[in-house]
């Protein structure tokens, strides 16, 4: 309940924030605070300083240009769910509860990398790109590479996620299906589907899975089975079966590995049917 003692920094600029973070390796950046503060309260982490990002307006934006959507790292779940981004807005609407969504940010979620988080299923399906700023400059990583392992983002000391860039997926239909025991929970299984159909034929399809691996994965082979096909129930059943092969879940308080694996099939099927119907 009670965080350990820490120092607190309110930087005037992004440069000042990254400089401080680089000089103080165990300092932590504070965004929405809905993963960091719970960890502080359990004393799981003991940073020397918190660096408050809230005042950095340049991290708080959402824009559409040239077929891309640029989402500033400090954009909240609530803002994302309201902004009509294919797939991602739907995923945002399932994150936790309204109060958490009012505070939590996309930059925070992907820098934290809980393996059961909602966004990663979508971001991996969308081929999202993460823009990172350090003192040495700006670099970009695909989300796939950025997420190295659970709770392990590709961030060096002094680096911050500044934005997430996704294609606008014009003309795609989509669905995010989250299995949860209770409203407000993390996912037991989450499946994100994006697809493009032309005259009943699938021209592009992306299936992202969350909560069933150390990090989100694409069900590539399952996707391939749908490509250039006119899916019927039988094919969808087979594709969903295939998606199960991409799940390597662990047994925990939310369910056994066996159950979760089965649910990948069920949720994939539902997400596909839902996306095809839209």
């Amino acid at each position: 309940m009670y965080p350990p003692k820490f120092g607190y920094v309110i930087p005037d600029s992004l440069g000042e924030a990254t400089e401080f973070l680089e000089q103080h390796e165990d300092a932590k950046a504070l965004a929405g605070g809905h993963s960091l503060i719970p960890m502080l309260k359990l004393r799981i982490i003991r940073p020397s300083y918190l660096v408050e990002l809230k005042g950095l307006k340049e991290l708080h934006f959402l824009s559409r240009e040239g077929g891309k959507i640029r989402i500033g790292a400090l954009t909240t779940h609530y803002e994302i769910l309201k902004s009509g981004i294919p797939l991602l807005s739907e995923a945002a609407s399932t994150v936790a509860d309204p109060q958490v969504r009012n505070m939590g940010t996309i930059g925070g979620v992907i820098s934290h990398l809980d393996p059961a988080a909602d966004y990663p299923a979508s971001l991996i399906a969308m081929d999202a790109v993460v823009r990172i700023k350090g003192r040495k400059g700006v670099r970009e990583e695909s989300f796939k590479d950025f997420a190295k392992d659970m709770f392990t983002p590709d961030l060096s000391p002094g680096e911050l996620v500044t934005e997430v860039v996704v294609p606008d997926f014009n003309g795609y239909s989509f669905s995010y299906k989250k299995l949860e025991r209770r409203a407000g929970d993390f996912a037991i299984v989450g499946v994100a589907v994006l697809l493009k159909k032309e005259g009943g034929v699938v021209k592009d399809v992306r299936i992202g899975l969350t909560a069933v691996n150390n990090k989100a994965v694409r069900a590539d082979e399952a996707e391939k089975m749908l490509l250039d096909a006119s899916p019927d129930e039988k094919l969808i059943e087979k594709v969903s079966e295939k998606a199960m092969e991409y799940a390597n879940p662990t047994s925990d308080i939310r369910g056994t590995a066996e159950y979760k694996k089965k649910m990948v099939k069920v949720m994939t099927k539902r997400a596909l049917l839902d996306a095809l119907k839209r």
Binding site: M1, Y2, P4, K5, L179, R181, R182, A183, G184, D185, I253, G255, T256, E258, Y259, K262, M263, V266, M267
Partner: protein, 711 residues
């Protein structure tokens, strides 16, 4: 002025919806320090704790003893083993990290069936791990069982859950050199005072129960920390506050249920139960006597209520309450009766399934007949009044409607019945006094903490005195403002506490009549008390309530009445509940869509509040049926946060309806019976019954997880 029976809105609400309540953590005293407790990491170990200027151990609190605070041996993980005193809670928790403890782990035992063998002792000071063994017997159950046409058997598990009131326990304690004043989030100021007197050896103690954010049984007993904080404030002479974190609370308090029944039942082919034989084993956790007395009693309740509303003549139950190295269990909403109801209602559904008899029909065939009332069950509990078959008949149209709805939408409809014991004694107090200006003040010896009994008490007094409710206020929770009291638990407050309010109000009415007569220069017989006035029957001259009051003071007639209402026997409400449940056949996810409660709780004083009690109890029962359980590995609770311990949200809660029929009144002056626990008593088996209807699987443990249904 008719108040009793009306859905009067809560007089408690205005303060609480404007943030003007005072819960224990809102209490601030000058110079107050904060206390935090270090808790055992091991379920069983010898300990050496290093004390210090701000660190107090069992050797300070109770030298040579291991309860309430262990000095040498811990018996459950989460047990408080040292207290630190600091300027505020942040520093207190910093300080906790510096306390040195040497643990020497000892063999623990967690399974009560193992513990029964007494091979490993839960605590070195115990003769046996068996806290109590009681047998109840009626007729010739074993012989009749052998002769029965059908014999069924099984084991049923009613899992360990946590009460999880939104406000945890908490204490503020101050000793002024003579008198100790203790504010506590407790279910009874008076009962806590008596316990503190016993443990501290002081009698000059005042206990205040401020606003309390729920308890559900978890705040009845004297908590080890309540004792320790009070002890420390006497020792140090400074005001102290203790508020645990949620994780501490989950690990160390409010554990309940955790009982299993092994049974054999002999049945006729038509579903009539001929004989029931069973063994109940209750896991009551570590041997802290205050908790063990509480939940040991609940094991007995679970055993004696096992026959439910059914006429089972030949029956035997052996009930064990067994210590283990887990958190001591205490009462949780229903306190033994939910377990009994779960056991017998599961057995009913098993018979229904095995013999292919409709679940309502199989129950009807076994119900106690109205002409048998009052009925003494096989284990000596008397069911005082009611008409069980009549209630089913009253529920029939609703049942048919639900059945049609369920069939249409391919949903599962389940049902369960219950009979409950409520309104326990031994007595309760009420004080009613009138200020010189006519303000009526009621003080109850009970300790409401959310149930809204104050509103009902105001209704009772207003009706008895025929004055508007606006004139009446209700107070409780301060041992200095009424001579004594018992408390709020066992669904007793309105029935027993209300009877005391009624007695006191009636006595006051008598005194007002006397005062009125004297003021009208008439004999008492010549006047009557009417609508709050005293009227001369012949002359028609009358005095208003306020005038009578002023005269009473002038004449030296005290308008301060305290009544004690003694209780002879508990009273027994009953009912039939229905749940309409949807199962997602692919994921196993369960949604209770609709819930209908049909109850007879005698005279209903306030239907709005009674229904609120049903809703609350049912959602807790739903939690136990589908979500809640204490997950333990190596004696350590694995889900001691609200992230992992799943209590239902609004999304998981069903649409609920409540119907009540007043077919049997209690013998108490108000005619009411308790309803506080009914929803929690019958809700879980009702939901399980629905699941069985759809899956055709017999479920013997809870919570039912989605994966249980897709296996």
């Amino acid at each position: 002025m008719k108040y009793i029976g009306q859905p009067v809105r809560r007089i408690e609400d205005p303060r609480l919806i404007t943030g003007r309540g005072t819960y224990v953590d809102d209490v601030q005293l000058p110079g107050m320090l904060f206390v935090a407790f270090l808790r055992s990491k091991y379920p069983h170990a010898r300990i050496k704790v290093k004390g210090g200027p701000q660190v107090y151990t069992g050797k300070d609190f109770n030298p040579g003893k291991d309860f309430p605070i262990p000095s040498t041996e811990v018996t459950y993980a989460g047990q408080p083993i040292a207290a630190v005193v600091a300027k505020d809670r942040y520093e207190a928790y910093d300080l906790l990290e510096s306390v040195e403890v040497e643990y020497e782990p000892l063999s623990p035992v967690f399974d009560p069936e193992e513990a029964l063998k007494d091979e490993v002792k839960v605590y070195s000071g115990l003769q046996s791990n068996v806290y109590s063994k009681k047998e109840f017997l009626s007729g010739e159950p074993h012989k009749v069982l052998e002769e029965s046409q059908v014999q069924l058997e099984g084991t049923l598990y009613n899992q360990r859950v946590v009460a999880v009131p939104m406000e945890t326990r908490g204490v503020v304690s101050f000793f002024d050199g003579q008198k100790l004043t203790v504010w506590s989030s407790t279910q009874s100021a008076h009962y806590l005072r008596r316990n503190l007197v016993k443990y501290l050896g002081l009698t000059n103690i005042r206990v205040i129960q401020p606003d309390v954010g729920g308890a559900f049984g978890s705040k009845i007993i004297l908590q080890p920390e309540e004792y320790a904080v009070s002890f420390l404030s006497v020792k140090l002479g400074v005001p102290l506050k203790w508020i645990p974190t949620r994780s501490e609370e989950m690990m160390s308090a409010g554990h309940g249920r955790d009982k299993a029944l092994r049974y054999k039942v002999g049945v006729k082919r038509d579903g009539t139960i001929m004989s029931l034989v069973g063994t109940i084993v209750g896991n009551i956790g570590a041997p802290y006597s205050e908790a063990n007395e509480d939940d040991g009693g609940n094991v007995i309740s679970a055993a004696r209520m096992l026959p439910g509303p059914y006429r089972i003549k030949h029956a035997q139950v052996v009930a064990y309450a067994v210590n283990t190295n887990l958190t001591p269990t205490t009462s949780y909403r229903g306190a033994g009766r939910p377990e009994a109801t779960f056991f017998i209602e599961r057995i009913m559904d098993q018979i229904s399934q095995e013999l292919g008899i409709d679940p309502l029909e199989v129950r009807s065939r076994n119900l106690i007949r109205p002409e048998e009332m009052p009925y003494q069950n096989a284990f000596g509990i008397t069911y005082d009044s009611g008409n069980y078959i009549g209630l089913i008949k009253s529920a029939e149209p609703y049942y048919q409607q639900l059945k049609a709805e369920a069939q249409k939408e391919n949903l599962c409809l389940g049902l369960s019945m219950y009979v409950e014991i409520t309104g326990f004694g031994p007595w309760e107090t009420a004080r009613v006094y009138v200020k010189y200006d006519g303000r009526v003040v009621i003080v109850t010896g009970t300790g409401p903490h959310g149930q809204g009994d104050a509103t009902a008490f105001a209704q009772i007094a207003s009706e008895a005195l025929e004055v508007p409710m606006e004139k009446v206020e209700v107070k409780w929770g301060d041992t200095d403002v009424i001579e004594d009291g018992i408390g709020t638990w066992g669904s007793r407050t309105l029935t027993v506490g209300g009877s005391a309010v009624l007695l006191a109000s009636q006595e006051l009415r008598k005194r007002l009549t006397e005062a009125g007569a004297k003021a009208l220069e008439a004999d008492v017989e010549e006047v009557e008390y009417l609508e709050g006035k005293v009227v001369h029957k012949k002359t028609g001259k009358s005095l208003s309530f306020d005038e009578v009051v002023k005269n009473a003071y002038k004449f030296g007639i005290s308008l301060d009445v305290t009544s004690v209402y003694p209780v002879r026997k508990p009273t027994t409400p009953y009912g039939i509940h229905f749940a309409v449940v949807e199962i997602d056949r692919e994921t196993g996810m369960i949604k209770v869509r609709k819930y209908l409660a049909v109850d007879d709780v005698g005279k209903v004083i306030n239907p709005l509040l009674a229904e609120g009690q049903i809703h609350g109890g049912v959602v807790q029962a739903l939690g136990q049926a589908l979500y809640e359980q204490v997950v333990i590995a190596d004696g350590i609770m694995q889900n001691s946060s609200l992230g992992d311990y799943v209590v239902p949200t609004a999304v998981e809660s069903p649409k609920m309806e409540w119907k009540n029929f007043q077919l049997g009144l209690s013998p108490h002056p108000l005619g009411s019976k308790g309803i506080g626990e009914a929803g929690a008593v019958v809700g879980s088996p009702t939901i399980l019954s629905a699941l069985q209807q759809c899956t055709k699987k017999f479920i013997n443990r809870m919570p039912v997880s989605p994966e249980d249904l897709v296996k």
